[in-house]
Every structure is written in structure tokens, then in C-alpha cells.
Subunit: 183 residues, 2 copies
DNA sequence: TTACACTCGATGCAAACGCATGGACTTGGC
DNA sequence: GCCAAGTCCATGCGTTTGCATCGAGTGTAA
């Protein structure tokens, strides 16, 4: 294999390992008894995007198959954390948004989670490295400097199954939970 | 929230997004029909560590609960890809290793997967950035420069449930699959 | 030797997942 | 208007996951 390939594969493997190590550490913080990290991920995404989100839109941010996400939203709706309204502009779609309860819950969890994330990251790398990491990961995720979502160039099929890690699914930070503390 | 916290949380979120985007793209490559990315992750880890691995050891690399990993290994053993031997030094433990078939299969998938990883990474970031990313992620994962595994400072409980992304679990690169091509 | 605390991996069971598919709706061409 | 193709989300179903727990083995001390 070429040096080019070696470089790329080393980077990918290290990213996977960093992801796994950090998710394990954050998952072990004992704050996910009521709401799982995957569920929080959805709450956070809905909080971040102020206007209602379509399911497919939400699915671009979450490492879950469309049916799995649909049912996860089901559960959040059943618990009164998320609203699922019909989209007046498109009879097929739904508009997902947080309820007042959902928003409060997200903020609450977000504050705690943010502390854990801050502690975990700063314990390992410097401030400069954090900034550098952010820039590179934004490129990898296809996010422009403005922070815009960025939709994948070629909308791939929905075969996931990885993750799981699906899991991907994981947890976003608190950003939306600490709005009060911002600016 | 402080600038420190903001920096750390932005970095974590961007890492999660990069992870999700790349896993989705790699999962969509249509090479995971026979062996899933999670299963490959295990095969890769066993291939990389030449000597047999304990289950708990393996579990540090894979984003899966201990029972889930135990059963995943079950399936790989049933398919003749992995051997599970009693550990002569510790009657409680098992020694996991690849069979010849398992090793061949890992190499085969690894070569294809490495190409996909190389393409995905180089399409997004420069060579320098790949090297920088690797260094930072190694720090995040707690890996020393020598590339040694590095065991977590405080062995956290086994509560995972994330990731999903679970899954977690994802796919390692081909490294062990391209030994032939290496120096 | 025995007793007790601990570690390791397997198993019962309910919850959650992915794949395949279906129904409702939209879109574009005729 | 109408029909074919495509999009969007929900549901059936088998598989996989996590949590709780268990039995077996280890290590230490009395």
C-alpha cells in the first residue's frame, strides 16, 4: 500500500479509536439513565436547528437507519419530549420539533454533558489542537466555515448497520443547552 | 459557557459529525453483505494484535457491551472465522484468534476497505491535515507515539449503549490486510 | 483448608436495530 | 387530467443489542 493510503487509513483508524474511547468515557458518566445518548443526540439536533426538522433531514445528522430513527422519535413523542406535526407544504412529510419539556430536558442534560465533554477533551489535548481538530473534522463532515449543515454530495443509500456504533449514534454536546451562558 | 468549554464541545461535535458522515459513506460501499462493519472491526483487531486476545481486551477496542461482543464472537466462531480457546493461564478467560479462513477474509475485505477509506479521506483533507488529525486522535484515544494500545486510565464501567453509532463499533482500516504491500 | 471478595465470560430477556416493504403523497411528462 | 416514477415515513419481522445476573475461576487472608 502506498504512503498516501497508509496516511489516510492511519488517520481513519485513529479517529475511530478516539471516537470509541471518548464515547465510552462519556457514556460511563451515569447521566444517561432517563435519556440515552442516542435520544439526546436527537434532542440536541432539534434544539440546535430552531425550526422544525423533517425526519430525513434529522437522519443526516444521526447514525441510525430511517426506520430506527422513526421509532426513536415515536418514543420521544410518546414521552412528550418531541412533537410530530404534519407538514402543510408536503403531505408525505412530518415536522419534528421539541416540546417545552423536551427543550428543558435537553438544556438540563446539555449542561451536565458539556462539562463532561470539556473535561474529557481538555484532559487530552491542548487548546490549539482542539481548534485544529475542529477545522479538520468540519472538512471531513463536509461542513463549510459558516457551520452550515452541508448535505452529502452523493446521497448514499441508507445502509448503515455500523454503527451502531450506532450507532452510532452518540451524543452531541450541550451547545444548545447553554444558550443562556453564551454571549 | 466559557471559551474553553465552547472549544472543547465544538471539537467533540465536529468529531462526531465527521465520524457519522464517514461511517455512512463507507457503509454504503456495498462490501458488507457477508461480514458487517462491526464484525470486520473484530477481525481487524484480532489480525492487528498477532497474539490471541482476551475478550475483555478486545472489548476495549470495540464499542460494544461485553455480552454483545461475546455473542458477536459466537457468530464468528460458528462461521469458522475465529477460534475461542481456553486460556491455560486463567481458567476464566478465553483466547481469541483468527482462523486461517478468518485471516484470509480479513485481508480480502481489508484491501477493498482500505481503498474506500483512502478515497474518502483524501477527497476531503490534505496530506498534512491527515497527519495532524492522526496525531491529535492518538492523543484523544490515549495512544502513545509508539502506537501501543494504551489502556484507559480509569477502567470505566461497561455502560455503553451509544453507539450505536453503536454502534458503534465501526470499521478499522485494512492495515492488517495489506501486510503484503508493506515494507 | 476454608472463606470471602473479585474478575471473567456466558445467558435470559426485553428493548432497539436494520432490511424489506407498503401506503400516502408529490412530481413531471403527456 | 392522468399515469408512471420517485419521495417520504411507517410497519412487519428477524436479528442484534444492552442490562441484569449467573456460574466458574482466581487471589488473599485467616
Amino acid at each position: 500500500m502506498t504512503g498516501r493510503g497508509r496516511l489516510a487509513n492511519d488517520a481513519w483508524e485513529s479517529l475511530l479509536q478516539a471516537h470509541a474511547v471518548l464515547v465510552k468515557e462519556l457514556a460511563a458518566q451515569g447521566m444517561w439513565t432517563d435519556i440515552s445518548m442516542r435520544e439526546y443526540d436527537v434532542l440536541y439536533t432539534l434544539a440546535k436547528c430552531r425550526e422544525p426538522l423533517r425526519l430525513a433531514e434529522l437522519n443526516r445528522y444521526v447514525l441510525l437507519s430511517q426506520p430506527a430513527l422513526s421509532r426513536l422519535v415515536d418514543r420521544l413523542v410518546a414521552r412528550g419530549l418531541v412533537r410530530r406535526d404534519a407538514d402543510p407544504a408536503d403531505g408525505r412529510g412530518v415536522r419534528l420539533s421539541l416540546t417545552a419539556d423536551g427543550r428543558a430536558r435537553q438544556r438540563e442534560l446539555g449542561l451536565r454533558h458539556a462539562r463532561d465533554v470539556t473535561r474529557a477533551m481538555h484532559a487530552r489535548v491542548s487548546l490549539d489542537e482542539l481548534a485544529t481538530l475542529t477545522a479538520i473534522c468540519h472538512q471531513l463532515a463536509g461542513i463549510d466555515e459558516a457551520g452550515s449543515p452541508a448535505r452529502p454530495p452523493n446521497q448514499t443509500t441508507n445502509r448503515i448497520e455500523a454503527h451502531g456504533y450506532a450507532g452510532a449514534g452518540d451524543a452531541r454536546t450541550q451547545d444548545a443547552g447553554a444558550e443562556d451562558a453564551r454571549a
